[in-house]
Amino acid sequence: MPQTIPSFTSSVRLKYVKLGYRYLVNNLLTVLFIPIMAGLLLEVLRLGPDEIFRLWNSLELDLVHILCSGFLIIIIVTVYLMSRPRHIYLVDFSCFKPLGTLRAPLTTFVEHGRIIKGPDSKAVQFSLKIFERCGLGDETCVPPALRYIPPALTIANSREEAELVIFSAIDSLLEKTGVKPKSIDILILNCSIFSPTPSLTAMIVNKYKMRGDIKSFNLSGMGCSAGMISIGLARDLLQVHPNSYALVVSTEIITYSGYYGEQPSMMLPNCIFRMGSAALLLSNMRKERSRAKYRLFHVIRTHKGADDTAYRCVYQEEDPDGFKGVSLSKDITMVAGQALKSNITTIGPLVLPASEQLLFVLTLVGRKLFERKWKPYIPDFKQAFDHFCIHAGGRAVIDELEKYLNLSAEDVEASRMTLHRFGNTSSSSIWYELSYIETKGRMKKGDRIWQIGFGSGFKCNSVVWKCNRNIRPPVDSPWSECIHRYPVKIPDVVKII
């Protein structure tokens, strides 16, 4: 019950009370159903077969009545089945696996920064502080253009990076699923900062020689949660187009988004963004039902852009010296918290068991009517989900969500380890996290997964999946070679110098 009641019994007894309450409320219908059915059965038995037959004859039903009733039932059932949304399956997904030759230890970043900007640069000193606390490891990768002193931030180099990360993820995905490029009906790509002409989707169509009638969409400028927007779009399109494959690619091309000015508010993305991408194959085909890994349940999008503070909290602009960068305002934690609250208010009723929803409603009512001192009840989302993939936007994001949603260290392990091994790969990070859970062998049939991400706008988006079949740890995932080293203990402050 609400947290304000002081601990009056031992925690063990409280645990059993909680369990009992949950079983009762979640299975209320069953709990009520059983006595009613038992009663009916007793009544039927009491009547005996002769009585029942007499009852039936007294209804005076003839053939027409029976046939009409039958047809009515059939029509109602058919209309119901047809109007249900199609099931959307995630057949499989692939993440870009960076080679060790693209590695960039944090010390190298600091050293390069000092050479480019001078040892006294405030930006370099600030970035050193970020590196010490960011939770990134020394295996994260940057594209070749960013390794130069000074970096070569050109469109040509950005395209090279795009080709490297996107094509390798798609190649791996097509090989795993055996689907031919010409079978792809829908192509959706999201990449926030880099949006050249022709688009990156055109680059994919060109490379893989896809069909002329492909429905392609290139989403740009939508931030780190755009991957979930792409999935939402794919889902909607797959409702309209039967028997289709949708290829969704989530990435961020960091060559183009490098920032080399002196503003501290623009330094964070520069320090923690790394190269990565994910390619997913979604389908509504019945034949994919047996081999698909996951089934899509919900896509919940929350947009706080109507509020000015939220709109400006992640803002791309030129700094006073003319350098282009993305500035993060000081209100970002507050805005993110509000966006999260909105999102879980929407998602709660869809996924939470009745017991948690009842508690939430009761607390809400109680707060309104009685003591305002009651703290709002944060539902226990561990009741609804088995795995959590929190976008690895930064250490602070993961820490905050862990505290706010009362998650355990194991729940956020996938997010923390992805941040450590791959850095912030923007919209594809939730897929690296899912890959971590799979490679660890923790994913079982029936497990429910919640992917949650934040992005500019300010948006908070969630996607809910259910695991469709038992999944063996993959041998070709980006984690395969290093999974035995994880999880690692990440110190609060790492000494770089």
Partner: protein
């Protein structure tokens, strides 16, 4: 000598980046240099390997970098950075920061460049950076890839002597060729290298080959007064024969003086003649140590010995000088180590140029760096941070077809500016060496 303006316009399109080990080195690994290593810390070897265009066909910068990442895994401490322990003794933190990678273009063809007889533009193909003024941000190795107009390539290796001697440096760069060819050996175990802390020993006699210098702090350069210049010349096999027979006074090959000692004797005497002031009576000789430590071990193990002349060098017969140099004299390695250990590695020393120093690179596999299964056309080494007495490197050349398969020798002189020209004239006049 080539004019400075020409030198400046020679190299263009310089781009800097870093390459490091592809695999993560476990955290908190350190490498403590030995006392011998620390004695050499103010010196830097600068080696350049020249390849013809056919050797490097199909090579691109991305491919070169990729193979270098694989190669540097084998020597992960070379990608680290120096720190100082609580006692002030330097050690390397193996943090995978990387080696510097420099790309450049040369406006000449390889053949045009090889025609510049004195190779004074050698410095343009290799970085002249030193460790310092900030230890944590100074790379220990800098690699430079310079493309010639004809498609040939120069590989410049700037090597901090604290990591190892010229023989180690040569093994280090040759291993890149092996990795390129697909013969990468197994990774060494990830283990910290720690120096045993022992009681400082008593030193009976101070070594003659090293001299203390005033403390340099974290800027590891030899405090010097003279401007040192470099000059190289190549001696073909026939020239060497002539030199040997003249020095030893013998016509038969079997009785002739050994080659390195001949060259040393000739230069020693010539320098003594042209030098103003007292003639150099003590010389330091460096040779390869006889034991093979394996290609993956980097260390300062070259055999250091000192030759002292009790007689006038100018008046002496070259044959006597040869005998003095060739005879097994006192090996100073242990004494140098004891001297450094006495001060717990905190003092700064100069070795090359403390006396007139001769280095015999004959035992090294200097031409062992193979690209596309071909050896370099020419290899030269020099050293930076040289004391006022000067250094002479004697390098073997690649074997040539014909002439009994013997190659010549390259002699690289690093001497004060004013002495170099006079020596050149003296060698030309007296020994017909141009």
């Amino acid at each position: 000598m080539v004019s400075p303006d020409v030198v400046e316009s020679l190299i263009s399109g310089v781009r800097l980046s870093s390459v490091g080990p592809a695999a993560v080195t476990p955290p908190d690994l350190i490498y403590e240099p030995s006392n011998m290593d620390l004695a050499m810390k103010l010196h830097y070897l600068r080696g350049v390997y020249f390849f013809s265009s056919s050797s490097v066909e199909g090579f691109t910068i991305p491919k070169i970098k990729e193979t270098m990442f694989q190669w540097l895994e084998l020597y992960y401490h070379a990608s680290g950075r120096f720190r100082r322990s609580e006692s002030g003794r330097p050690f390397i933190k193996c943090n995978d920061c990387g080696v510097r990678f420099i790309e450049a273009k040369c406006s000449q063809t390889l053949d045009e460049w090889l025609e510049i007889k004195d190779f004074s533009t050698h410095c343009r193909f290799v970085s002249n950076q030193v460790i310092g003024p900030e230890l944590p941000f100074s790379p220990l190795v800098l690699l430079q890839i310079t493309w010639f107009k004809c498609g040939g390539m120069a590989v410049g290796v700037s090597w901090a002597h604290v990591l190892g001697d010229a023989f180690s440096a040569s093994n280090f760069i040759n291993m890149w060729g092996q990795v390129l060819a697909g013969n990468k050996p197994e990774l060494p175990p990830y283990v910290s290298r720690l120096e045993k802390s022992e009681k400082p020993p008593s030193l009976a006699q101070e070594p003659l080959s090293v001299k203390r210098v005033d403390p340099v702090g974290d800027n590891w350069v030899v405090p010097g007064n003279c401007k040192m210049e470099m000059l190289s010349f190549r001696l073909a096999a026939t020239q060497l024969d002539g030199l040997q027979s003249r020095v030893s006074g013998q016509k038969q090959k079997n009785d002739q003086a050994p080659l390195f000692e001949c060259i040393c004797a000739v230069i020693w005497q010539s320098l003594a003649k042209i030098r103003e002031g007292p003639e150099p009576r003590i010389v330091t000789i460096c040779r390869k140590e006889p034991h093979n430590r394996g290609r993956l071990t980097l260390s300062n193990n070259q055999m250091i010995s000192v030759a002292k002349a009790d007689f006038s060098v100018v008046e002496a017969k070259p044959k006597d000088l040869v005998e003095l140099i060739a005879k097994p004299s006192v090996n100073e390695n242990t004494q140098i180590e004891k001297l450094v250990k006495k001060d717990q590695g905190l003092m700064d020393f100069v070795f090359y140029g403390a006396n007139l120093t001769f280095v015999d690179l004959g035992g090294s596999d200097l031409y062992g760096l193979e690209l596309n299964k071909t050896k370099p056309v020419f290899v030269n080494y020099t050293v930076d941070g040289v004391g006022d007495e000067g250094v002479i490197f004697v390098l073997p050349e690649a074997k040539v077809a014909g002439e009994d398969g013997r190659g010549g020798q390259t002699v690289t002189l690093i001497l004060p500016e004013n002495q170099l020209m006079k020596l050149k004239d003296e060698l030309k006049r007296e020994w017909s060496i141009k």
